[in-house]
């Protein structure tokens, strides 16, 4: 059994949502209970598999594990190849948790429940695929697959300005994706041209790069920005962020959770997984620009968030602000800073998922998220309120939550590389506290607006479970981050060392 799992666990993790989606097709739409059970059940099953994965990953050995390779389209150099390193394990874990929480939160969805869960499963399958693929074709395949279900999820179940927002989101992300696609294909061609073996096999290319051959400096300098811009769109790096806040705001709870929690991480993950290790010299040349742009993310995003009146827009812009820290950590290419970036991807994923789950919960009842209309909700919905405050505290970087540990890692890690962006990042924490506390106060504290007397708090264990799950993960990883950080470090360190070696070579 263990041996079987060892080979197949990643494929199974990938397959569970796919199979769930297929099964859901066959279920009559009226059987909502069955639909929900299937959705949540598949999430639980992936959770079990992921738990096994996390605990079976051998940190001592590090590197890619649970590898599986099947020839797929041999004549085009495509193979189905999956495998995870520490970084991807953390991301798979994140996805699973958000998926489970999202599936639980979505139990409240009444209209077209079946379609909703099908799309959710498809989305999750895409995200899992990106995190486990070691073949550039499948990487891109899943990357695109993850983007498109969002269109309908927002378009049909969404709110504020949903048609505009969802179209913008989908097109924007696809635009980014095709830029990356051009980069990937050129990389494929250049590699094939140089070695005579045309393949999309990531590991083979990586071995080639690590072996001292690698892309020429000119190639790296010209291709790296393609990958960077392409992937940074979804990250989202300023000024390519504008799809995100509107998309967040329009999306239904579970979709925003997946979107902000996981989808946005695909970009930074892709940069780390593909761009950095395969084009270290390009990275050395271009990453300082990322360090500059991420300051805009942090400061500008924060200030824009400060001026928002719609809660989801606040969180939306705050996400783009937080992603600035991730980009800063990546740009720093230090083991500490970059591990911090990955850890922050994880932490922020959980945190925003929580935020959107909570906002979604009361939005379903209030039908407004405007701060001016809310107020004093804490008295009416203490459970949601308390968790919201915890979420805000996590978001503004309070120790005890994973976000603090990861942001600290980023800041300490990038201080020696980019001190001025680091100072701005620190200042960003002040801005973050400003708008988050203001939001908490406007919505939850102060005198109660009698309009909200009828609001119902999350009472049943089922209703509470997603929130508790998410906040629990944040706390556990925040109070004692060493295990997850060392897991992430095993994945990040080789990447960082590759780039650092290139830097040393270029500097010398």
């Amino acid at each position: 059994m263990n041996a079987f799992l060892h080979d197949w666990v990643l494929t199974l993790i990938l397959a569970v949502p796919c199979v769930a989606a297929t099964l859901l097709f066959l279920v009559p739409a009226e059987r909502k209970g069955l639909v929900r059970t299937l959705g949540v059940g598949s999430a639980l099953l992936t959770t079990l598999l992921t738990a096994w994965l996390v605990f079976s990953y051998d940190q001592q050995a590090a590197g890619f594990q649970f590898m599986q390779k099947l020839p797929w389209v041999a004549s085009l150099g495509i193979s189905y190849q999956v495998g995870v390193d520490g970084m991807s394990v953390a991301m798979v874990l994140l996805t699973t948790i958000v998926f489970l929480a999202g599936a639980l939160v979505s139990c409240g969805i009444q209209s077209r429940t079946k379609d909703f869960y099908i799309l959710l499963c498809a989305l999750v399958a895409g995200v899992f695929g990106v995190f486990v693929s070691l073949d550039l074709f499948f990487f891109y395949f899943f990357y695109e697959l993850a983007v498109v279900p969002m269109y309908l999820l927002i378009g049909y179940w969404g709110s504020t300005n949903r048609e505009y927002a969802t179209m913008k989101l989908t097109l924007y992300l696809t635009a980014g994706a095709v830029v990356a696609l051009v980069g990937l294909l050129l990389m494929y061609f250049t590699y094939g041209h140089a070695t005579g073996h045309y393949t999309f096999d990531y590991l083979e290319m990586k071995r080639w790069v690590d072996g001292g051959a690698g892309f020429s400096r000119a190639t790296q300098l010209s291709l790296f920005p393609l990958l960077l811009v392409g992937f940074a769109t979804i990250a989202p790096m300023w000024p390519l962020h504008s799809w995100s806040p509107g998309g967040h705001a329009a999306a239904p709870a579970a979709a925003s959770m997946m979107h902000a929690g996981v989808l946005m991480k695909l970009g930074s993950y892709a940069i780390l997984r593909i761009a950095l290790p395969l084009m270290p010299q390009g990275a050395v040349h271009w990453l300082p620009w990322v360090a500059v742009l991420c300051c805009f993310n942090i400061i500008y995003g924060g200030y824009v968030a400060m001026n928002q009146r719609d809660m989801k827009f606040v969180i939306g812009y705050s996400s783009s602000s937080h992603m600035g820290y991730v980009l800063l950590g990546i740009a720093s290419v230090t083991v500490l800073g970059t591990s911090g970036a990955v850890f922050l991807m994880f932490a922020h994923g959980i945190m925003t998922a929580l935020a959107f789950a909570l906002i979604g919960y009361f939005y379903d009842q209030t039908h407004t998220r405007m701060l001016d209309d809310l107020g004093g909700l804490m008295q009416q919905v203490p459970f949601v309120g308390v968790l919201f405050v915890m979420m805000a505290m996590a978001s503004l970087g309070l120790p005890g939550f994973a976000n603090f540990a990861s942001e600290m890692m980023v800041i300490v890690g990038s201080w020696e590389r980019y001190p001025i962006p680091t100072i701005l990042a620190l200042f960003g924490l002040v801005i973050g506290a400003t708008y988050l506390l203001r939001t908490v106060k406007a919505a939850f504290l102060g005198p109660k607006n009698p309009r909200w007397d009828g609001l119902r708090d999350a009472k049943t264990p089922l209703e509470r479970s997603p929130f508790v799950l998410l906040v629990g993960v944040l706390l556990v990883c925040g109070i004692y981050p060493a295990p997850i950080v060392s897991l992430i470090e095993t994945g990040v360190a080789p990447i960082v060392h590759t780039v650092q070696a290139a830097q040393a070579a270029m500097g010398g």
Binding site: S242, V304, M306, L398, E416, A433, L437, R438, G446
Partner: protein, 648 residues
């Protein structure tokens, strides 16, 4: 686990906080019991090490585990028990415990009783973490946690707008300070990283050793931010010191980051006593003590600290003279006293500062508890609605009077010893602080202190009652409130050499003096010093008595005569207004600008613009398809012609 393990000091309050939050919310009494038991336990564990620390010269207990490690950076979580932290431990757990007991009475009918104790336990955990921390990063962690507990406690009455506003203000002001603090930490950590070897990141002992190494100290240049800047050692030290001091200014409410403390009085009174008088605000002073090895080699850094402290002391005292809210007067008084402590640190008087911190914790907590009892009795904070309460609340009243005397430094109460120790420092300030601010303001502040405290006592407890309704309903507090007050009163009275004897006091000084701080000799109680103290008290108290007790001088006339000066002081030197203006006109406009840029340039022009252009191009292109087949033929032929022209 060993029952005397310092880990327990942290674990007990944490456990209490978690248990109350998760399980015992519904049983307020049980929650309070848990919370008190946790503090008492922590106190006991701390006390079990007291003897060792008191008797050994350099006994320190350490322990740690790796909290987070990546890329060669080891962040530890540990404890460091030495003289300095032992003093703080005793003050925090001791005074804290008393205040917990007091709160069982004060919060009796509050619906958030259990929640209150959960917050208190959380606060104790956070605060003790600062005290025990063995490295800068851990201190930062607890620094933030203390911030959030303070946020929660200030905003305890969350239904009130003003309470949550005050909580936000406190948090944000501290965040501004912490911005500098973290920068300072980064500078210090990376500067000492290579010298500290395998010790955890920012480990105090390792850093102190590294700094003490002359080779380090006299390095030609320090590189900051990975070599982006290089600084000479003098500049490096004062910049790092000043940045770190920003954090201290935030937490210890030093000018100009003091604005949150008066507003923090929105919290329940025990909170004001515990956090905003006795413990949390003292954390900054404690941290200065911890980090004095950084400041010591840099006169500039010390000078900054001393001047900020001295100015804050004076500045807050002036404001206190005009306030009518009983808690606000005490808040400004706290600011003022913290200024003294910070100044003392800046004058290298660690021991004096720590001593004052201790005594101040006693009598200021007592004052707050007394104020709480008064408020509990009359349900108002405004002294103008009080008066003559000594008859209704004799116990509280006299307690309050004794605490006032202690605060004013009347010999031989505890305040006299500690405060005079500090004033003594200012008489012969070291060269870098030889300015009128240091030499003059502390003494003036002492006079002002006597004035506003006497004024407060007179307005509250003496004279005719000004609000008879409130007066009639006033009643003495219950035993669980008065008992802690009594204990604190005793401590306030005998907190000096009377309690410990001169030798112990000397020893106290010794253990709170970090290595490398030159020993300074303090005066003992003699006639001249006592007279000096009494003159100062007499000046202040006398004028207050003339104005508010004997009514010889009409305060309103004085007010009118002083005119703009009075208004300036009454409005707290317009600092809050200045900040409000900055927030409103600078920050808010930057936010609006960014938002507008996002809305109109990025989204409106670039994103929607390109979408619009594409759609418009589509409409234009579709117009080629006119429907006329002859036009199609023409287009076709034109295509052929173009194709041929380009390729033949």
């Amino acid at each position: 686990m060993d029952l005397t393990s310092p880990w327990l000091i942290l674990l007990l309050p944490l456990a209490s906080a978690v248990l109350i939050t998760l399980f015992t919310q519904r049983w307020p009494r049980l929650s309070a019991g848990l919370s008190i038991a946790a503090v008492a336990g922590a106190f006991a564990v701390a006390a079990s090490h007291l003897g060792a620390v008191l008797h050994g010269e350099n006994v320190v207990l350490t322990g740690h585990f790796t909290w987070l490690a990546a890329g060669g950076h080891d962040f530890h979580y540990g404890y460091l028990v030495d003289g300095l932290s032992m003093v703080m431990l005793m003050v925090v757990t001791g005074v804290g415990g008393l205040i917990h007991v007091y709160a069982t009475g004060y919060m009796k009918d509050d619906p958030g009783y259990a929640r209150f104790f959960a917050y208190m336990s959380l606060f104790m955990f956070s605060m003790l973490g600062i005290v025990l921390a063995d490295n800068l990063f851990q201190i930062f962690i607890h620094w933030e946690l203390v911030g959030v507990s303070s946020y929660l406690l200030i905003g305890f009455y969350y239904r009130k707008d003003s309470a949550s506003a005050a909580a936000n203000k406190a948090f944000l002001t501290n965040r501004v300070g912490d911005f500098g603090f973290m920068l300072g930490i980064l500078m210090l950590y990376f500067a000492t990283r290579s010298a500290t070897g395998s010790a955890g990141a920012g480990d105090f002992q390792a850093m102190a050793q590294a700094v003490a190494n002359p080779a380090w100290l006299h390095a030609a240049v320090f590189s900051v931010g990975g070599g982006h800047w290089t600084l000479t050692n003098e500049h490096f030290l004062w910049i790092a010191g000043a940045l770190t001091f920003m954090g201290i200014m935030g937490k210890s409410a030093q000018f100009p980051l003091h604005v949150w403390l008066p507003d923090a009085m929105e919290g329940p009174t025990p909170v004001s006593a515990l956090i905003h008088a006795a413990t949390m605000v003292a954390a900054g002073v404690f941290l200065l003590g911890r980090l004095l090895f950084i400041y010591m080699p840099s006169p500039t850094a010390l000078s900054i600290v001393a001047h900020v402290g001295a100015f804050t002391a004076f500045f807050a005292a002036t404001i206190a003279t005009t306030q009518f809210d009983i808690k606000r007067v005490l808040a400004f008084s706290t600011l003022s006293q913290l200024g003294y402590m910070v100044m003392a640190m800046g004058l290298r008087g660690t021991d004096a500062a720590m001593f004052h911190l201790t005594t101040h914790a006693f009598f200021k907590a007592l004052l707050f508890l007394g104020a709480g009892a008064v408020i509990h009795a009359v349900h108002t904070n405004d002294v103008r609605e009080m008066g003559g309460l000594i008859r209704k609340l004799p116990f509280t009243g006299w307690m309050f009077v004794i605490a006032t005397l202690a605060l004013c430094g009347v010999p031989p109460l505890s305040g006299f010893w500690s405060k005079d120790g500090i004033l003594h420092l200012t008489e012969h300030p070291p060269g870098y602080a030889h300015t009128w601010i240091i030499m003059l303001l502390p003494t003036i502040t002492a006079v002002l202190t006597s004035y506003y405290m006497t004024r407060l006592v007179l307005l509250t407890f003496f004279g005719p009652p000004r609000d008879h309704h409130r007066y009639d309903h006033a009643h003495e507090a219950p035993l669980n409130m008065t008992l802690p007050m009594a204990v604190l009163c005793v401590l306030s009275v005998i907190g000096g050499p009377l309690l410990l004897g001169p030798e112990v006091l000397e020893h106290f000084r010794a253990i709170t003096r970090p290595a490398g701080v030159p020993e300074q000799h303090y005066v003992a109680l003699d006639a001249e010093t006592a007279l000096h103290a009494l003159v100062i008290f007499g000046l202040g108290a006398g004028s207050a008595l003339l104005a508010f007790g004997l009514r010889v001088i009409d305060p309103d006339k004085v007010k009118a005569a002083l005119g703009p000066v009075y208004r300036f002081i009454d409005n707290r030197w317009y600092i809050d207004e200045l900040y409000a203006w900055i927030v409103k006109n600078v920050q808010q406009n930057v936010a609006r600008l960014c938002d507008a840029f996002d809305r109109y340039v990025i989204i409106g022009t670039v994103v929607n613009g390109s979408a619009w252009t594409t759609r418009a191009a589509g409409s234009v292109v579709a117009r080629f398809q006119t429907g006329s087949v002859r036009a199609y033929a023409l287009l076709f032929l034109a295509g052929v012609a173009a194709l041929l022209a380009l390729n033949l």
